[in-house]
Symmetry: C2
Subunit: 415 residues, 2 copies
Amino acid sequence: MTESTNRAGMCVATYRVHDDKADFAKKAQSIAVGLTVGSWTDLPELRKAEMEKHLGRVVSVEEHAGDGTPGSRHADIRIAYPDLNFSRDIPALLVTVFGKLSMDGRVKLLDLDVSDGFQSAFAGPKFGIAGVREQLGVHGRPLLMSIFKSVIGHDLRGLEEQFYQQALGGVDLIKDDEILFENDEIGIDRRVAVCMEAARRASQQTGQKLLYAVNLTGPTSRLHDQARRAIAEGANALLFNALAYGYDALHELAADPSVNVPIAAHPAMAGAFYPSPHYGIAAPLLLGKLMRLAGADLVLFPSPYGSVVMPKEENLAITAALLDPSRPMRTSFPVPSAGIHPGLVPLLLRDFGIESVVNAGGGVHGHPGGAAAGGQAFRQAIDAAMAGIPLQQAAQEPGREALRAAVDAWGVREA
Amino acid sequence: MTESTNRAGMCVATYRVHDDKADFAKKAQSIAVGLTVGSWTDLPELRKAEMEKHLGRVVSVEEHAGDGTPGSRHADIRIAYPDLNFSRDIPALLVTVFGKLSMDGRVKLLDLDVSDGFQSAFAGPKFGIAGVREQLGVHGRPLLMSIFKSVIGHDLRGLEEQFYQQALGGVDLIKDDEILFENDEIGIDRRVAVCMEAARRASQQTGQKLLYAVNLTGPTSRLHDQARRAIAEGANALLFNALAYGYDALHELAADPSVNVPIAAHPAMAGAFYPSPHYGIAAPLLLGKLMRLAGADLVLFPSPYGSVVMPKEENLAITAALLDPSRPMRTSFPVPSAGIHPGLVPLLLRDFGIESVVNAGGGVHGHPGGAAAGGQAFRQAIDAAMAGIPLQQAAQEPGREALRAAVDAWGVREA
């Protein structure tokens, strides 16, 4: 196919279309016309001249014969959409490029390259990796995040104690469980108040700061007020189930000057979109590019090591999108999550690098010595891995008893 | 499996889980515990007594051996979640029952039965079928909706003329193209002003009312203001890409007393969720139950007749959910869309009944006599079908020239 060269002011979508018989070049043309000006060949010349600036363009069509089995033939089709056709918000972009098309056969949205013009409406993450590091005063190593576990049914005192134990372990961030919602007893402001007090107490022991990403929930119209209430009580980070509210809700939170704390985007519901080879939205776009565009400072996604799995190449593609230096935005911290224990830290470092967050729930709380020892074990594992010391060896050294117990419990997977 | 009988105050989710080897009963237990209290068997008895009210319950597990081919073995698993665990909003419900689980293997969310308590936070459609009929003064036949076509790049005068021609044909509703977004020339208030003026002019010819569902777009936080501006200019209905904003945005619009016009929910992006047999959210829940719960007065979905297809049984299940008389809410109009021409009206009536909307774009605008004749052909087809007259016969009668031309162009599929 001819590559259209003039794509200034256009956003380019890449689709994978599975079809055993389709003329993919024709299909590409029908997308480019059908999702923009509607019809083209029948238009009078004068009207064509007026409408040309609105016409979608086929950028490329790459056919793959597949392995010969039914269902394997497919093509990757790239279509450029003029910015003129839609407003500069993510709902408009997604509805334009994948609203109707999502229902038109076996088609998956793989990628989106937004134009400079579209991009200009998005400031991206307010803090990003550098800003989060600055808040914490931590440089030169991956951050460590711990997850509240099984907090449903706990009272305020229970939360405070669990928070304090996690904080004592020297973690950099603590995140709420994403299924913790508002109720009378542990509403966001009361929760923040007791947990930040626990953070202060722990800080006197550990000498370090920490961020508490409190779960922002409830009606869409009250998210900003909720965030401001939490911040007024001392919240210094937010957790947000972005996909349950739409990217635009995340974007507006990130763009709100009064929401002056980092936002961690949780991937809840992401599995409704990304795993099918035929339908949905690919993980690197869903959890990588679009989350960063919408302004997430940290993005959680399923690690390749745990029970909630995602192929490692998708993990790495998400990470690449969050860190891509060519984008005119701050970078977002990749947070591969689920199934993480201290013995995986060398592998995490190899796969995700220093600019990532080691995030653990069971790997902290399930430590034989308790949550504080769990955090310490992770910090010791990170220090050893950064120094290039094999964990089995590091675990035998004095002062690394917490790591030793973790290694005994979960083993080690060296990189 | 034992059926748990005490499910007052619980919302029940039904999942289809594909797995060649899993112990589905064990999987069900792990969902019921993992997505609620987190752990159970290891808890001290005293703690169990405190936590029991938060514990999820396995309602049923139906195993299907499949056809013996790899990938075909599956189970339908029903889990009841205590309302106590989440707030009464759709993001909280979805994140609880499918947030993390969506990423945990081949699992599709098939259905949700919300408790009376959860339901009580939702008034449902503000108008519903009866209210929309009352607005229009039309009873005893399906409504007729026509779709703006290829409006990208049109100016206000072009829109007005297209609107007028559609209105002249006697349609009951006209909907914006869902990919029509705000720009300086055809912003929502200017668009509403000229189109409602065209509606008034047409009404002098046709003697009938019509609703114009104007596309509500832009930043989430400004949707209500945009809706109020449009209504102030005379808008008498709204179109909303609900899935691009999340169900809660739709719910809040429907619950806003100042948004006192019917809302039509467009299914844009729905194909990212429903078509896979293994992942996502089933169409009857996605476009049926949840759209009605969130308050859509009309719900569009892909018809089983056109190029954008959905299996007919899913269409009928969506329709059943929108009309289900057992729910304590107004019903929502089913609007099967795409590929509709006048010759399909008998089939539409048979499949969807009178309480539905016949919705056409190409079937109106592509009429040999133009859009006004297109609308007339549909109205004549509806009248004939309601009277039980075969369309081929009706099309030969005097005064039904528009129908005759449509039947000549597209043919007839009698029910």
